[in-house]
Symmetry: C2
Subunit: 304 residues, 2 copies
């Protein structure tokens, strides 16, 4: 809960213990929103709107969540209507990459710019785009799917069913699957993880900081493929800022951002390269709260 | 010369016999504009504005042509000011890919849509983008450079100095260079061209229509790489329509558009694929005139 200057007045984090009954889950969420208001000493009616940042695909026009692959039982759920009826407030729904892009643009690393791309890089990979100072969602709200742009034609299989997608190389889930089979038994990565098959990207980052050769080669591969995907994105959109979430933000300048930036800048026009910023998230743990807040603010913007 | 409904009132085509003295060339162009007005029975003062579609890079804000590689002597030329002073009219300058995209969006294959990508595919390859019913030019007007998106990492050398760019495979100039060395002496392509080293894309298209094996294999290669580039473009932007100029328009449905469309649709989300149109230019030989007209109309739009 926050104001239009990005100040958070109250916040609450809860595990997404969703049942397969969306109406019940949304009723619970509405109760939590009321409790959060009470905690902050505010009437519900003092709020101007509610923003929902949810995994896609969803239709922001109607506020309907379509069929998110990771939420069983949630198909064609009219979140805007269900939550709006319970709270008596306008509800705006956006996919999480778009919501994060809005938050970084308004309050984070994209502040003050007109053309901003934010890449969510946790389980999957997707971009939220602010172009010309406005969220750009494309046809059916499906823009920003750079995670499935081909970086190696007919390369590694991707969770989407196709091959060679950026996400198949730099998505957290794909990388974790690769590490389970590729991590050498005696390596530092395996030691940090407890066992090779439990190795995860964060173990690679930690081992790379210690100079481990396997970890460094894994990161070099990650950076190369990320640079390929970003090169295509930057050439098509000519953004002023590209903001990289999760893994690159955690790995930091020396291990990831620096090498990726150098590769991308070498592949785009010098005039554009001189102005292009490739930076980590500017909001850290506040990002999810500000993402929801910014979605609520979009709702206000779209009022007549 | 035309009106806001896209009706051309008068038009003139002239070879671009430019000297290396931009001021003199622009003075001549201004004289031609006056002559064209007289021919159409109109006073110059009856015009609302002038649109210039020029090869980039240029700065549409200031109307300055920066340093187009194919116009020797033309560096940092303030076209808007020079032409505006001579004609006493507002002048708007846009790069040719953007101008063509505006024309296709207003009057051609992109009419009625909000999100349109037009690919110019003659000597080089570039996209003009209309997103959310507005020209999108990106930072420094440099968006749409899909011609330099990598489709084969470290692949063929490109005129831009890098390797593996889309343009290095499907640009007219690059393909012509390849044909000069790859066309078999006894082939139908060589016969149509007069000699292998004179083979050009149009000879390939013609020979392919006659079923020539070498021509068909060249077109298959062309289509594959074009599909790679378009897949990345479509995933990032989720346009409603992708309009392909020159070579694909000339090669037509069976030899190019059909195979390219099939490959791209198979690589993007089914929901997006169902609505995505990949089509040839809808304006044909009228495109350059309407492009200039649409640039002039942009000037009107941007008045306060």
């Amino acid at each position: 809960m926050g104001d239009e200057r990005g100040r958070l007045l109250a916040q609450r984090r809860r595990p997404s213990r969703l049942s397969e009954q969306p109406e019940r889950d949304l009723a619970e969420l509405a109760d939590e929103a009321r409790a959060l208001c009470a905690e902050a000493g505010l009437e519900l009616s003092a709020l101007r709107g509610v923003g929902v940042s949810a995994p896609g695909p969803l239709d922001p026009e109607s506020g309907v969540l379509l069929h998110p692959p990771n939420l069983p039982g949630w198909r064609e759920v009219p979140i805007r209507r269900l939550l709006g009826d319970r709270l008596g407030l306008p509800v705006q729904v956006e996919n999480d990459a778009n919501a994060a892009a809005l938050a970084e643009w308004r309050f984070g690393a994209g502040r003050g710019f007109q053309h901003v791309a934010y890449l969510t890089m946790s389980t999957g990979v997707g971009a939220g785009l602010v172009l010309g100072g406005k969220l750009y969602a494309g046809n059916l709200g499906m823009a920003g799917e750079v995670g499935h742009a081909p970086v190696e034609w007919d390369g590694e299989p991707c969770a989407c069913g196709r091959r060679g997608c950026l996400e198949a190389y730099v998505g957290g889930a794909a990388w974790t699957r690769r590490l389970a089979r590729a991590t050498p038994a005696g390596s530092r990565v395996a030691a940090l993880a407890g066992a090779p098959e439990r190795a995860r990207p964060e173990h690679v980052v930690e081992a790379a900081r210690e100079g481990d050769a396997f970890a460094l080669s894994e990161l070099a591969r990650y950076n190369d493929y990320l640079a390929r995907g970003l090169t295509a994105l930057v050439l098509v959109l000519a953004p002023e800022v590209v903001i990289l979430g999760t893994i690159p933000s955690a790995a930091g300048e020396a291990l990831c951002l620096g090498p990726v930036r150098a590769q991308v800048l070498a592949r785009v026009w010098p005039r554009l390269a001189r102005e292009l910023r490739i930076v980590p998230s500017g909001l850290g743990p506040q990002l999810p709260y500000l993402a929801g807040l910014c979605v609520a603010m979009e709702s206000e913007r779209s009022l007549p």
